[in-house]
Amino acid sequence: MNKMTLNLGPQHPATHGVLRLIIDLDGEEVVSAEPDIGYLHRGMEKLAETRNYYQYLPMVDRIDYLSGFFYSYAFCNAVEELNHIKVPQKASYIRIMLMELNRISSHLLWFGTYLIDLGAISPIFYAFRERELIMDYFEKITGQRMMYNYFTFGGVRHDIPFFDDVQSIINTIGDKIGDYERLLSENPIFLDRTVNVGVISEKKATEWALTGPNLRASGVLSDFRVNMPIYDDIDFDIVLTNEGDCYSRYLVRIYEMRESIKIIQQCIQWLGQCSSRDLPFLEKVTLKTFPNQEVFSSVEAPRGLSMCYLNSIGGNTPYRVKWRTSSFYSTQILKDILVGVTVPEIMAIYGSLDVVLPEVDR
């Protein structure tokens, strides 16, 4: 058998960042695939050891720039648990609303880039048009389109003056998601490329520690939002499919966007009720020294479960910060599921796993 080694190198239009896949091909079929990561390693964990908590907080947004609010929340939650700070309820609802908007924008970006990997050149522009609505709103609230630096220990930095236009944003996005489904969910070419491609069974998904939409598409009921206390009063459904192929991962994310819209609707209602009363949005704290303790803080990010481990031995800098990110494990499973597929299917499978390289390399 004559093998050809192909280097889907760090520079490639479709690897969504700098991932290197060393693939051995026999004709068009993959014999072995090995991911080579580390091109975007920025030393996020080591940097925490020489900065105090307030200095590290803006850096946390950049671990995954597409879902900055989630990592910010994980770190703020860790510090709040460590110091027994109680966050006011209004701040919790603001956090949930912004996180769910961020989830929608991250899924929209995934949708656009996945389809341009498959060859359809129009949906990416439509997805980015919707993302602009969300990013304009973020800019109004936080002053930034991407690296928000808005959550802080004890709540959020400023009060949100506008949340009425969120209603029009989610109305527009709800309609457009229906448009995308009409364009693609029954398209024979799209179905041909994604149905029964890259099937990950339930056992394999839990063995390789997949989380988030990748896991739920394989039929495993696991959503960390049910364990987060701030989601206790919010009513939402968990989206599950059984097949575990690329098409079900696509469906799970499309329906998750709809569930996020439901959650945001409930947040707007609650915030609208309390807008006449002047509720606090920030519990002012001054953190001088920390107890000698460690804490695990998890959040359900768009790509899966993200966990922050924070260990302090007193003093005002952390002793150890560890980030558990879900794309790290999505890259690991490539070694297993890419064996025996053809070259076009590599792109379909890799795109459907929603791997973002800054999360992998930190």
Binding site: H41, T206, T211, R320, D336
Partner: protein
């Protein structure tokens, strides 16, 4: 919280301190039991966390049970060598390679232990406490 009594029955010598199950001497048996026992069924290894306390290292295994929605942390204290759990949980491979890369802890039994995030030719293990970048500029936040 998962039913700790089952664990206490099976492993009376392992103590639970500060919310973590200490399994420094019999990690493989503990993890196999936690994975295969039907009442506990911790089928997912979320992450392996390594911490460098200067005289010893600690590894924390974060396990999750997707059926029962429970989680547990198992901790191992050792010097520089550890046993690999890739035979029990396949997802440990990348974690162990990364810990070897950044901390220098060697895992016996790992199929292919190599550096992951740093280039293969890198000398030193950055996340160890004695890999301090001796720099004047780092003293500014004291």
């Amino acid at each position: 919280m998962p039913d700790i009594n089952i664990i206490r029955e099976h492993f009376p010598n392992n103590i639970i301190e500060a919310g973590k199950l200490d399994a420094s001497f019999n990690i493989i048996e503990v993890l196999s039991f936690l994975k295969n026992c039907p009442e506990l069924s911790f089928d997912m290894l979320l992450s392996i966390i390594a911490i460098d306390y200067i005289h010893y290292n600690e590894l924390i295994y974060c396990l999750l049970s997707t059926h029962l929605n429970e989680s547990i942390k198992v901790s191992v204290k050792m010097k520089n060598e550890a046993k690999s759990v890739t035979a029990i949980y396949k997802s440990a491979y990348f974690d162990e390679c990364e810990i070897y890369d950044l901390f220098g802890i060697k895992f016996t039994g790992n199929p292919n232990l190599k550096r992951l995030l740093l280039p293969q030719s890198w000398a030193g293990h950055p996340l160890k406490k004695d890999y301090i970048l001796n720099d004047e500029r780092l003293k500014w936040n004291e």
